[in-house]
């Protein structure tokens, strides 16, 4: 701590240069924060811990093929299955095709299988009691300014109504919350009663898109999944059952390897940054060789000089990193607050920890060569300006 004024003094020996270098570092870590937030948003889709005790059964052919509802009873009878719900993708459009959000028809027990969502008992009851009732996530409600009691019209893209219209109108009876900020994206969905949906649609009646099972023992997930798939084996509608987390991870992976793209960009950014600040540090230390020689003359050991230069590099990069991460935190928070629909995870403790860890690593890397030079200098030569 007592060396801090010395380190700061060295850093701000040339203010302009240090500030420009600092700003480059801020830019690099701003990008790191933003990109890691994007990567996190995709990665966390497959990482919901709560999903481990839930299984999902879809058609073996593909997610887009429906299965008969008659499987419900037989799946419920599989040992280890506590509860079974089912759902259909509706794919309705609210006002404009650009306003995309998932809207699904779900069985009445659907919310029982998602205890992690917060939905008041009164609103859940209203959902059961209202034929045309719908429940939406808090984020979605905020995005379009919906309140309980609002009527929400959706244009069907797949399912025209028996009555001949193409517009389905739902009554908003409940708004649910997802308390985990990492999974807040789940609040962007809308759910309505499957019974009403099945009654009013013109095609596919009696068929469901997928089943969700809650199981007793998450360790038995594999065995239970196999038991479920055996039910429809060799029939027209073979099934494929996996944990919800595995399903989501697989689905996200179909967008392409987001992690790889983000990592590649970050690597390019940091590679450039290391060269940039490395050069600056080398230049700064070169200029200060006589000063370092004075410190050695006074009695600073070679190791202390090495540590001083390293500390300088680490401090510079860590300062820039903190500013860049703070900036990215603020930007992501304000984007989220504005209701923009972007795959962004709030910049939280994990990204900060990762970013600051990286900054220390880069600082050591960047400081290593100049620090070695400072450590190795011969006092007599350095003082004589050789």
């Amino acid at each position: 701590m007592k060396f801090l004024p010395l380190i700061f003094g060295a850093l701000f020996r040339r203010k302009t240069r240090t500030i420009f270098t600092l700003l480059s570092i801020v830019a690099a870590f701003l990008l790191f924060g933003l990109l890691d937030s994007v990567r996190g948003a995709f990665a966390s889709a497959g990482n919901s811990v709560a999903g481990v005790d839930r299984l999902m059964t879809i058609s073996k052919i593909s997610l887009t093929v429906q299965m008969p509802k008659s499987l419900l009873e037989r799946i419920s009878a599989v040992p280890g299955v506590k509860d079974v719900a089912y759902a259909n993708w509706f794919g309705g459009i609210y006002q404009d095709p650009k306003n995309f959000f998932p809207n699904l028809a779900v069985s009445s027990n659907f919310f029982d299988l998602r205890p992690e969502w917060q939905l008041s008992a009164a609103e859940l009851k209203a959902f059961h009691d209202t034929r045309t009732g719908a429940v939406v996530g808090a984020e979605l409600a905020k995005r379009y300014g919906w309140k309980l009691g609002d009527k929400i019209p959706l244009e069907a893209t797949i399912f025209p109504m028996k009555s001949g219209g193409n517009t389905w109108t739902f009554d908003l009876v409940g708004i649910f919350h997802q308390p985990d900020p990492k999974l807040r994206g789940e609040e962007g969905q809308m759910f309505f009663n499957w019974d009403y949906f099945d009654e009013a649609r013109t095609l596919g009646n009696g068929y469901v898109g997928w089943y969700v099972e809650r199981i007793n023992d998450r360790n038995a997930a594999g065995t239970i999944a196999q038991a479920i798939d055996r039910i429809a084996e060799n029939s027209d509608h073979e099934t494929k059952t996996q944990t919800e987390a595995a399903f989501q991870a697989n689905f996200v992976s179909q967008f392409g390897d987001i992690g790889l793209i983000v990592s590649a960009i970050i690597a390019a950014v940091f590679f450039t940054l290391i060269l940039l600040t490395g050069n600056t540090m080398a230049q700064a230390v070169r200029e200060r060789i006589p000063e370092l020689a004075v410190l050695k003359t006074i009695g600073f050991s070679s190791r202390s000089v090495l540590l001083l230069v390293l500390a300088e590099a680490v401090l510079l990069i860590a300062l820039g990193a903190a500013a860049g991460l703070a900036l990215s935190t603020a930007i992501v928070a304000s984007l989220k607050a504005s209701g923009a629909q972007l795959p962004l995870l709030p910049v939280g403790g994990e990204i900060w920890l990762e970013g600051l860890g990286l900054s220390i690593l880069i600082g050591l890397l960047v400081g290593a060569l100049p620090a070695r030079r400072g450590m190795r200098l011969r006092i007599v030569d350095a003082l004589a300006g050789r």
Binding site: F3, L6, G9, I298, G299, F300, S301
Partner: protein, 231 residues
């Protein structure tokens, strides 16, 4: 008076490529404790080399240096650094202050290597600054001080950890006459009132006059000839 510095058969050879250059040749010298000697000689006579060896900045090729009973010619680099911190204060021709630190922080530098508390370090630095007559300049940076003042800050830095020995390399070489006299007077006072042993390399016979006596060096050997220049 016992000798603080005992030099026996000291040699220093620099190797530049294939050429060998013997800068010091079998030098014997005793400097008693409490002495103030001026080291004179033409350029290339080896006086700075001798000073660097006494200050523990360089190691001899041959011979011994004993200071205060301790052989320093064979100490490792780290041990030398510790020894310098405890025993020697340095004053350079170009002051060599750190430009981004205030006078007080500059003076404090050697104390960072001790176990003193921040408060004690600050107090000692201020005492040292007062001693050199710059108590009111503690918060100024070197760039805001005159050459003479900067050299006095450098002297305060050299004495702040209370070393026995002060090693000065052309301390007045870059100063005008009046500042030079102030600095030399200060060194004399440190020698007389505080018992510091001082070794000063200088070109200037007037500066040498402030010392108790002068040692002449020529072509790497001591010239046995007492100083004849009056103060």
């Amino acid at each position: 008076m016992s000798a603080l510095v005992e030099i026996r058969q000291l040699s220093k050879v620099y190797t530049r490529g294939k050429q060998k250059l013997e800068v010091l040749h079998h030098v014997d010298l005793d400097i008693p404790s409490g002495d103030f000697i001026a080291l004179m000689g033409p350029s290339g006579s080896g006086k700075s080399t001798l000073l660097n060896l006494i200050g523990g900045l360089d190691s001899p090729t041959d011979g011994t240096i004993t200071i205060s009973g301790q052989r320093i010619d064979q100490l490792s680099e780290n041990a030398l650094a510790r020894w310098r911190a405890a025993t020697v204060g340095f004053v350079f021709q170009f002051y060599n202050l750190l430009p981004m630190l205030t006078a007080r922080r500059n003076v404090e530098l050697p104390l960072l290597l001790t176990r003193l508390s921040a408060e004690q370090r600050r107090r000692n630095a201020e005492v040292a600054l007062q001693l050199v007559g710059l108590g009111d300049r503690a918060t100024h940076k070197p760039g805001e001080l005159s050459g003479g003042q900067q050299q006095r800050v450098a002297i305060a830095r050299a004495i702040v950890s209370d070393p026995q020995l002060l090693v000065c390399d052309e301390p007045t070489g870059d100063l005008d006459r009046q500042s030079a006299e102030e600095v030399l007077g200060l060194l004399q006072q440190l020698n007389r009132d505080h018992g510091k042993t001082i070794i000063m390399v200088t070109h200037d016979p007037k500066a040498a006059g402030y010392a108790s006596h002068t040692v002449h060096l020529d072509k790497g050997t001591l010239v046995d000839q007492p100083a004849a220049v009056p103060a």
